[in-house]
């Protein structure tokens, strides 16, 4: 499950043939449309857009061959969402102030869609492209840091999984939150080792060609326009 979660932050190596710019615009558009659809005073848009965007994200994940892995990773996030829904339903049952059932369900879809949309930033844009973009913006050192952080996320998540098994048994299911302590220790201990790597095995500044347009991009732009049009009308 946690291993699956790590794939949410890793680039899929499947070449899709879309330009970097169109991929960035796609991700940002999905996130912005998701936010805007909440403030539009149209009930149908309010309930349908989170579902449409979530479905679009699943299609993207299927195309890049990540759907199974992401679904296994998203399971943990889904648990938290489920807990939230249960609390809200209890509130409804106890007649405490709570949103309606439709809002709770749509809110869960929206949250899941937002989370997956955010992770698409890492799955659709590879680290070399990030490095290249940031280098061109004059942020070369930040680019290296981002690369390092992205590369280490799966390792940290694997250790997190190990710590959870260990501490769940050690403390008989209590104090699970303390799994974070050994991870902080691990991160502090290894940060210097990783700097050592930078000094001993440096990388060339990224030469990745940042292409701004491919013919195939039109598909993405048409899709975005088709999503935005109903929003602007209402």
């Amino acid at each position: 499950m946690i291993r699956g979660l790590s794939y949410l932050f890793l680039f899929s190596d499947k070449r899709l043939g879309y330009s970097v710019l169109s991929r960035i615009i796609l991700i940002l558009s999905l996130l912005i449309i998701l936010i805007l659809s909440r403030s539009v005073h149209n009930f149908y848009i309010y309930i349908s857009y989170p579902i449409i965007i979530l479905a679009s994200e699943f299609v993207i994940l299927t195309i890049i061959g990540r759907l199974r892995k992401v679904l296994s990773g998203i399971f943990m996030i889904a648990i938290f969402i489920l807990i939230g829904i249960i609390i809200q339903l209890i509130n409804v049952f106890l007649r405490l102030p709570a949103p309606g059932l439709t809002e709770i369900i749509i809110g869960s879809f929206r949250l899941t869609a937002f989370f997956i949309g955010f992770t698409l930033i890492f799955q659709l844009i590879n680290v070399r492209e990030w490095r290249s973009i940031l280098s061109r913006l004059g942020l070369t050192e930040h680019a290296q840091t981002i690369t390092m952080v992205l590369a280490q996320i799966p390792v940290i998540l694997t250790y997190f999984s190990e710590a959870l098994v260990t501490l769940r048994l050690k403390y008989k299911g209590r104090k699970i939150f303390s799994a974070i302590t050994p991870l902080i220790y691990y991160t502090a201990q290894n940060s210097r080792n990783i700097i050592e790597t930078y000094i001993m095995y440096p990388m060339k500044e990224s030469r990745e060609n940042i292409n701004l347009f491919n013919k195939k991009d039109l598909l993405i732009y048409i899709y975005i326009i088709s999503l935005i049009t109903p929003l602007t009308i209402s």
Binding site: L169, N190, M200, P202
Partner: protein, 476 residues
């Protein structure tokens, strides 16, 4: 060889970390081009520090203080800048996973090669050469964290070779390597020797490396001492003796763990196939298998953390998991708090903490220290001591407790594990010390997902503990 100028010369080298004791205390040694030198020493003897001192990172990155001179090809290393130095001297460190910057292996290697050469065609040529030399072709499209310890080490060797270095320093290269990967690593060393590379290997688990080393040096009390003839004289017959152990185990043959036709898969890959394992109370079971064979997965299923894909498990014990990365076992700021916390959460009261702290003091651990500040061996010993004293019906699931330990620590920990009456399942990738205690354990082999009873071979490596203790103490 000795008629030539030394490639690397350590002239009365002293080194200490900021505000610390001197770790290197006047090291005088010369290393010659093309030779392979094995440096052994106990945990904490300063082997990694020596590598840091030689590369200049000890001062620059770790804020240490260096006295004396380190001379590379007749020049003080302080006169060389890092980009110049690290093209000629390469370090292959303990944890290979720390040495990758790009997630994808192919990209990681290429990014580094592009730094070394400007021409894309040349970069491709070097890439293909090092990938073929280190037999990495099948792995280049994998993420580095998906590689086994042995594969990651091989990938790092490839990265080190990219600049065609003169000197390669290996810091504990056999750590995390299974027996097959160890053989693989030895082949790499033979190959590097053929390329006339100068190799300095810093290693606890040195037995497999003795025959391919030209010299063996012992790092003790901050200085290097030549022990080549002593180390090479270890007698084979003397080593294959079984070591008797007095165990407190009562043989009541009560089955406390049983798996029936257990299968497990991840994505579409079958990891475990039809595992049938029966463990009696007090048994010490060894699961021996290469890296990536599914040992950790099996332990997690037995612990109840992972659900098997198929099959059933019967458990009648309080399970405790001790991970390979031992620091993940600890959560508190001191050993004392660690003990108090586990006794409290398990509802065992103050008596438990008091008795347990006494036992921990008896094994020589300062209870006021942070568990994270203990040596690797002490952390393993502490985790075992805590685990076996918090329940009468405990079953310890221990993942690779021996990697990263000296032979002396390995044998002491294994002997200790064999003496009590607690049930243990130990996953290991190395048989080296286990054969010595084969009559006290049930050994199974996990290979390609299936579990077989292991049949002992006389060729299994074994160690003369007394010889090694005397060697480390310098009383030989």
């Amino acid at each position: 060889m000795r008629n030539q100028q030394p490639l690397l010369e350590l002239r009365d080298v002293w080194f200490r970390y900021k505000d610390g004791e001197w770790i290197l205390r006047g090291v005088k040694e010369s290393f010659y081009e093309g030779e392979t030198v094995l440096i052994i020493g106990e945990a904490g003897s300063g082997k990694t520090t020596l590598a840091r001192a030689v590369t200049g990172l000890g001062e620059t990155l770790y804020g240490g203080e260096l006295k004396g001179e380190i001379v590379y090809r007749g020049r003080d290393i302080k006169e060389l800048d890092f980009s110049e130095l690290f093209k000629e001297i390469r370090v292959v460190g303990q944890n290979p996973y720390n040495y990758f910057i790009e997630p994808l292996l192919r990209e990681d290697l290429m990014s580094h090669i592009r730094y070394l050469v400007d021409d894309e065609k040349k970069a491709e040529k070097i890439f293909n050469k090092i990938v073929d030399m280190t037999r990495l072709r099948k792995l280049i499209n994998r993420y580095f964290y998906e590689l086994s310890g042995g594969e990651a080490r091989r990938a790092l060797i490839a990265k080190a070779l990219a600049s065609d270095p003169v000197l390669i320093i290996f810091d504990e290269p056999l750590m995390w390597l299974d027996d097959d990967s160890t053989k693989d690593f030895l082949m790499n060393i033979v190959f590097l020797k053929e390329l006339r590379k100068t190799l300095i290997i810093l290693e606890h688990r040195f037995r497999p490396l003795i025959n391919i080393s030209d010299r063996v040096l012992l790092l003790r009390d901050g200085v290097l001492k030549d022990v080549t003839s002593k180390i090479k004289s270890i007698s084979r017959e003397k080593m294959s003796k079984e070591d008797p152990v007095v165990t407190k185990r009562s043989f009541d043959n009560k089955v406390i763990l049983k798996t029936i036709d257990l299968w497990h898969r991840y994505d579409h890959n079958i990891i475990l196939r039809n595992i049938n394992l029966s463990v009696d109370k007090g048994d010490v079971v060894m699961i021996y298998g290469p890296n990536g064979s599914g040992k950790t997965t099996l332990l997690k299923i037995l612990a109840g953390y992972l659900k098997p894909w198929r099959g059933r498990i019967y458990r009648d014990a309080d399970m405790m998991y001790i991970p390979q990365n031992i620091s993940l076992f600890y959560t508190e700021e001191s050993v004392k708090k660690e003990v108090q916390e586990i006794c409290r959460t398990r509802g065992l009261g103050e008596r438990c903490a008091k008795d347990l702290l006494k036992k921990i003091v008896d094994i020589g651990i300062d209870v006021n220290l942070s568990p994270f500040d203990l040596s690797y061996g002490q952390q393993v010993k502490l985790a075992i001591e805590i685990s076996r004293n918090v329940s009468d019906n405990i079953m310890l699931l221990i993942d690779e407790p021996f990697s990263g330990l000296t032979y002396v620590d390995r044998i002491e920990i294994l002997k200790d594990l064999l003496t009590d009456d607690k049930t243990k399942i130990i996953a290991t990738a190395n048989l080296d010390i286990i054969s010595r205690y084969r009559s006290h354990t049930k050994i199974y082999m996990l290979r390609e997902g299936s579990l077989y009873e292991y049949i002992h071979s006389e060729a299994d490596e074994n160690i003369d503990l007394e010889f090694l203790k005397s060697l480390y103490r310098g009383s030989l």
